[in-house]
């Protein structure tokens, strides 16, 4: 979901996604760099993101990922689910504090 969110803001290459996630999470989220790629491949296999080879900032060839329509739908769905879940759990935790 994090990857989908990162890619939803515009096409990014793998390293860029990593940076973006770190940036969004303000470095609070530590992910092992290598395990990003299997996740990317899986998402692409499922058809939620698509990739295209392009030029990077430092003029090297890099693979850019962007969100597909199905990916966008999936992101919305997961966001909604997550929010609902967070609400429920938050509610439970709040209730306990009373």
């Amino acid at each position: 979901m994090l990857i989908l969110k990162a890619v939803s803001l515009g096409p990014l290459h793998g390293y860029g996604i990593l940076l973006r996630i770190q940036q969004i999470s303000k470095d609070r989220l530590e992910i092992q760099q290598g395990s990003l790629y299997p996740a990317l491949y899986r998402l692409e296999h499922q058809g939620w993101i698509s990739s295209v080879w392009g030029e990077s900032e430092n003029n090297r060839k890099a693979k850019y990922y962007s969100l597909t329509a199905a990916g966008r739908k999936q992101l919305q769905l997961e966001t909604k689910n997550w929010n609902r879940m967070a609400d429920v759990i938050g509610g439970i935790l709040d209730a306990e504090e009373i």
Binding site: G14, Y15, S35, P38, W53, K61
Partner: protein, 898 residues
């Protein structure tokens, strides 16, 4: 889909993956350099933070679903290497599986042709045939019947009824009529040849819509007495007679002396509206009167002559019940109007017609199921055999498996590896089987062929056969692969890796393997008993008393077309004289029905003066025979005289009866001099004098007792066709030319048909018994070989595992003969249990084949005993080599080996 594109662009995916990961590390390193680290330090840290590159790559591949594929390829490569290492094992496995799957494929191809292949017209699944059954079989039936009234085949209809029902039909697309006709003599470019054909109504082609490959079909306008006569020919005839030349279209050929024009050619897959025939000429119904006249002229004008088969396609959405009900009303109305006979209107029904009229299904369904069952048994035995061999091998590979498990392979992973090996064997065997099945696809139909002409069954392989072969390959692979795979995963890593793991005696003593051998032995016994029963049936049939001498008798048919010979007596007599004059012919005669050829005639006859009324006994069997009939076939005349040339139409009719008729009709009397009279309605009731009594001889079916028979003189009671029989010491080939010449000198357009010897004729009626005897014997032998391999394998395996134990026994003083008998005793026990199970199964199952046996109980003790004995001998022979090896174990060697 995506997965396949991954497979095909494998190299590109790998390089891209490399490039992408390298880009990541480089970018990361560049960022670190920018933060102040040295270049080397930055690269090192980048690599560390990234983690194991190869591990992540493998995970990426897994994400794409490629890992499974890689492992599968690895497994396959390993399995192939294992196979190369054990070429003997691989050969046994592939050959036994190939034979098993090949037999199944060949039989399935045959079965598919008979049971599944439908008429090659669109929507054949909606085809229905019209049928009726008489309400009271004893009652007089209104009108002559041309065709079969067998209850499981559709019955024929009069033309008038067909037209009435067609006019009132609202439930079928249309009603189409046809009639199969045989032995038309077709003359092309001066050469006469007998062909089979099909009379079809004018709407046949338009309604059924079979594919044509040249010219035009028969149209409605062609089916009229005033139209110029046209025919459509089959693809086979087009190839054979005209070399597929376009010139054939428009060509005029003569059919029973009637000139007809060829207008079209059927597609090769369309064989006519009756399964199993080779119909080569299709002609409109209107030509029947000219080409095949019956005594009364054209059948189209006879309202109560039952001869046409009716077929049609249900309209879409109309159910069988609705169609049946609507057509039944129409049938009853038409019957009342046309037949003018209101008593006992036959019961009407429609039956499936997707194969048209189908006699073959009736004939072959039971044999096919039996054959499939037998072939399935053989395959099961082969599976058991392979499972056994693999099991034995899996125990020798225990160390390898333990090593794999110890190194971290998961149990499912090891299981998959073993299953892959089994599957690969199965696929190789399946491929071999498919090849064998392809070569052997004509073998099974040819077993059912008459030796002088072919049945016209031409099984083709199609996707259904491939699907079947593929499915049984998978099933066999699973069947024989699962047990060893399961065994492997139970391996105990610790004991498996220890050198001494070999000698632990506490493990189950190959119980599974022994159970499989018992299973194999019992199945083999089942097949052997089947083989024995069918062989004895064949032997019984061949040695049964038939009442005449079939040796050195050559038969051929002459069928003078009625369009040319309304009274064929003259021409038949001329031919008889010409042939009698041939040098090597000892005697010649003719008969209306050939003997033991499933052809017969029965007519009602009673002693003259017997009060008329319903017959209280079945009508006797009748045959018209020429003067030398009894001499040629060596049937003794017990009383009175035989027919002579003087028994012709100028003197009163005479008859000869056989002993059984004499005994049943004239008990305790001398029938010679008595007279009999026809009780068929409409026949001449003149008394016929009995001039002789002959010994009983079988008539149409070799399995049946000789029926009560009346013979008439051919010259007084001639039929439109005759089977000539000549006694000759000369070989068939040398005399046929002479016969052909004689017949041609009488009429050059008259073909001689169905040349065969009387023994061939009898053999033809035994074709299914022969086929079963051959196939079950073949399967039985195959099973025996497989079972002996199985017994040998399991005994060799147990002996090798017990080498230590045997060594100790011998060191303690056991003699080698004691060891020998110990191992043989074990073999015998296995065989004994298997035989006991097999005998019980056979006793239960052979009853199902009882109707196919002759003069033999399905539990024939001699056959059962012989089969069991044979198996015991084979088992002991197979167990002997391992037993001897055990008896020669050198105790020092065996113990030191530890």
């Amino acid at each position: 889909m995506k997965f396949l594109s991954y497979l095909f662009h494998r190299r590109r995916i790998e390089t891209e993956m490399d490039a992408e990961l390298r880009f990541h590390i480089d970018s990361f390193a560049a960022d670190l350099v920018r933060q102040g680290a040295s270049r080397e330090e930055a690269l090192r840290r980048a690599r560390i933070e990234f983690g194991g590159i190869e591990v992540h790559k493998e995970e990426c591949r897994e994400s794409l679903g490629l890992r499974l594929w890689d492992e599968l390829r690895g497994d396959c490569r390993y399995a192939l290497r294992m196979m190369r290492q054990n070429p003997g094992f691989t050969a046994v496995a592939v050959i036994s599986l190939g034979l098993g799957i090949g037999a199944n494929t060949a039989i399935f191809t045959f079965a598919k042709e008979i049971l599944l292949t439908t008429m090659a017209v669109p929507h054949s699944e909606r085809l229905r045939m019209l049928n009726w059954e008489v309400v009271d079989p004893k009652a007089h039936f209104p009108g002559p019947v041309w065709g079969s009234l067998s209850p499981s085949l559709p019955s024929p209809f009069p033309y008038r009824l067909y037209q009435d029902m067609r006019r009132h039909n609202e439930v079928m697309d249309d009603l189409v009529a046809f009639k199969d006709v045989y032995h038309l003599s077709a003359t092309v470019n001066g050469q006469a040849e007998p062909v089979d054909g099909m009379l079809v109504s004018g709407n046949f082609y338009q309604s059924l819509a079979p594919r044509m490959i040249a010219g035009r079909p028969i149209a409605q306008e062609d089916d009229s007495l005033s139209a110029s006569p046209v025919v459509v020919i089959s693809d086979a005839y087009w190839s054979r007679r005209f070399g597929r030349s376009v010139d054939a279209l428009g060509k005029v050929i003569s059919l029973n002396r009637v000139p007809v024009t060829i207008v079209g050619v059927n597609a090769p897959e369309f064989k006519g509206a009756k399964a199993g025939g080779t119909y080569e000429i299709f002609l409109p119904l209107s030509l029947q009167g000219e080409v095949l006249p019956v005594r009364d002229g054209s059948l189209l004008a006879i309202d109560n002559y039952w001869w046409l088969m009716i077929i049609g396609r249900l309209k879409p959405g109309v159910t069988d019940q609705a169609a049946n009900a609507a057509l039944e009303v129409s049938f009853r109305n038409s019957f009342r109007a046309a037949i003018r006979y209101t008593k006992d209107i036959p019961r009407f029904s429609i039956i499936k017609g997707s194969r048209g009229m189908d006699r073959r299904q009736l004939q072959f369904t039971k044999p096919i199921y039996l054959l499939l069952a037998l072939a399935g048994l053989v395959l099961l035995i082969a599976c058991a055999n392979l499972a056994n061999l693999l099991l034995a091998r899996s125990s020798t590979r225990q160390r390898e498996m333990s090593l794999r498990l110890a190194m971290g392979a998961s149990r499912p992973r090891v299981m998959r590896q073993v299953l892959t090996e089994a599957m690969l064997l199965a696929v190789l065997g399946g491929g071999a089987g498919l090849l064998l099945g392809y070569w052997g696809r004509n073998l099974i139909p040819s077993l059912f062929d008459d030796s002088w002409h072919q049945s016209g069954i031409d099984p083709q392989m199609d996707w259904r056969v491939f699907a079947f072969a593929f499915a049984i390959t998978l099933i066999t692979g699973l069947l024989f692969g699962v047990a060893p795979a399961w065994r492997c995963t139970r391996a105990d890593v610790n004991s498996g890796l220890k050198e001494t793991g070999r000698m632990s005696t506490s493990r189950p003593k190959a119980f599974l393997g022994k159970a499989l051998v018992v299973f194999q032995v019992s199945l083999s016994l089942l097949l052997l008993i089947g083989a024995g029963l069918f062989l004895r049936t064949l032997l019984n049939l061949r040695t049964t008393t038939i009442g005449f001498n079939p040796e050195h008798i050559l038969l051929f048919d002459i069928n003078p077309p009625r369009s040319q010979y309304p009274w064929p007596k003259g021409v038949l007599q001329q031919i008889e004289e010409k042939i009698a004059a041939l040098p090597s012919v000892q005697s010649v005669t003719m008969s209306a029905a050939p003997l033991l050829a499933n052809s017969m005639d029965r007519n009602c006859f009673r002693p003259t003066g017997y009060p008329s009324g319903p017959a209280e006994q079945d009508p006797p069997w009748t045959n018209s025979v020429g003067p030398n009939f009894f001499e040629t076939f060596a049937i003794p005349i017990l009383n009175g005289r035989s027919f002579t040339a003087r028994d012709n139409q100028n003197v009163p009719e005479v008859a000869i009866v056989n002993r059984r008729f004499a005994k049943e009709v004239f008990p305790n009397e001398n029938p010679v001099g008595r007279t009999i009279t026809s009780c068929e309605p409409g026949d001449n009731p003149a008394p016929i004098e009995i001039v002789g009594v002959s010994e009983d001889a079988k008539y149409s079916d070799i399995r049946a007792e000789a029926p009560p028979t009346i013979y008439f003189s051919f010259q007084q009671n001639y039929k439109s066709r005759a089977t000539f029989a000549l006694k000759t010491a000369a070989s068939t080939t040398s005399i046929v030319a002479g016969i052909r010449e004689s017949v041609r000198s009488v009429d050059k357009d008259l073909p001689i048909q169905e040349v065969r010897t009387q023994t061939q004729q009898i053999e033809a009626s035994l074709s299914s018994e022969r086929a079963f005897a051959i196939l079950t014997t073949g399967f039985g032998l195959l099973a025996l070989i497989l079972a002996s391999i199985g017994i040998y394998g399991i005994m060799a395996y147990t002996v090798s595992r017990r080498t230590n134990e045997i060594g100790i026994r011998m060191a303690l003083g056991a003699r080698s003969s004691q060891v020998l008998s110990m191992v043989l005793r074990e073999t015998f026990l296995l065989a004994f249990i298997g035989i006991a199970v097999g005998l019980a199964a056979a006793a239960a199952l052979t009853r199902l084949a009882a109707s196919m046996l002759y003069n033999l109980k399905p539990t024939d003790p001699a056959t059962f005993g012989a089969a069991a004995l044979l198996l015991v001998i084979i088992a002991l022979a197979a167990g002997f080599t391992p037993a001897r090896r055990a008896s020669r174990v050198d105790p020092m060697h065996a113990l030191r080996h530890e």
